[in-house]
Symmetry: C2
Subunit: 273 residues, 2 copies
Amino acid sequence: MRIAFQGESGAFSEAALFEHFGSETESVACPSFRDVFLAVETRNCDFGIIPIENSLAGSIHQNYDHLIESQLNIVGEHFLRVRHCLLAKPGVRLQEIQKVISHPQALAQCEHYLRSLKGVTVEPFYDTAGSVKAVSEMESRDVAAIASKRAAEVYGLHILQEGIEDNQANFTRFLVLSIDSGSDPGEDAKTSIVFTLANQPGSLFKAMSVFALRDIDLTKIESRPLVGKPWEYLFYIDFLGSTTNLTITRALDHLREYSINLRVLGSYPRHRL
Amino acid sequence: MRIAFQGESGAFSEAALFEHFGSETESVACPSFRDVFLAVETRNCDFGIIPIENSLAGSIHQNYDHLIESQLNIVGEHFLRVRHCLLAKPGVRLQEIQKVISHPQALAQCEHYLRSLKGVTVEPFYDTAGSVKAVSEMESRDVAAIASKRAAEVYGLHILQEGIEDNQANFTRFLVLSIDSGSDPGEDAKTSIVFTLANQPGSLFKAMSVFALRDIDLTKIESRPLVGKPWEYLFYIDFLGSTTNLTITRALDHLREYSINLRVLGSYPRHRL
């Protein structure tokens, strides 16, 4: 099996891929999210995996846009706990470190820890896995990178400290994409939909009533204003249950009475962290 | 007036600052979002301005966290249209460009345009304004950066092409923060709140009824799972109207009957793009 992910080898997306599919899988690195979709659409890869939301950074609207534009189905989800590690060349001790490089978001997420390292300067880098690669290729031994444990293995670095993020509740949710709709997701399933509503007072309340009246539990709701169409909103909703269930299909039929466009992105087994 | 923003001079946050407060204002660059909050809390600055959501990249949960932790009030909002420009050294022509550098998100947002430039390589950089600074300090003349028009002025570069983003509907919403609550936001106002609900089927429906029953129009709703508390959710809601209005205060009192924690982040004049 070949699975497409965005980023360099050792990226958090690749870690999610191996956690979800097992370490025997072949991971295919893609430069951009769009390339992940293309790899699956052209059947170059069996599945793709993309981040859709992070507990600190929020939803990635761009990937919702790609989902809406493509005909791919969501066939799975995966929550990855983001654990940052401080990595250096083999043999280097923590006291020797003078500079730490990583993606600005990773640096920000380890702010308290970095402040505790007296006299250490911090330098932003375009990518977490890329910063590890850079350290591995450097002459000097006093620079450390912040990235995943896996990135240390990929580039032969040594872990100085693990779990250095300030907020332990840092996780990213990934979606698994396929050109075919998945097999029956079973009893403990989730469904993701997107739809548009006219911006009238109470229109969202009506839309939500189709779930509340049928005791369907929502796990995510998010509005996104459609720019250029100032009175319209796009809504992302995830709920428990799959489209193989009659109550769910009735709720969706009911929702079509109020919504302008409704697209079911997929029903898939729920992943519990 | 001194206003704090995150990033380097020429960043999109600074552009929003000048659009909102006028070009006579003194802008104060801060390394992190947390430093923006600190600058306002310690009265080193009169106001702070922070991005809260982007139409392509989504909400910035981290800044909601800072808002919840701090006692600062939202006293204004500002929508900034994000227009990317291709920038090079003075006198350089488009045909001479061999390499383009910028933040990966800016490169991704100009993907179609960049592909139209035959034979040009692309290299990620940690920051848009930083990439402009780098080009201005380079010996070679065949490198261009992608950033705001303002960054070109700050670092003395020349605009090769303006508005090169693939999606014209690219905007960022900023919030203006103050240690004092703002003056009366007037008739055309918005209010931002955060609250927690127990994850029971229908609990969000009840919470929304307090607005629907009073014909209060929502402009944003977003759920965010609380990690470590698997059955609880944090909700962000923005609605039209201010807490100086009796209908609004009654709706909020009503919402307190269902919600676990409710915090009013501020009422402020609505900004229309």
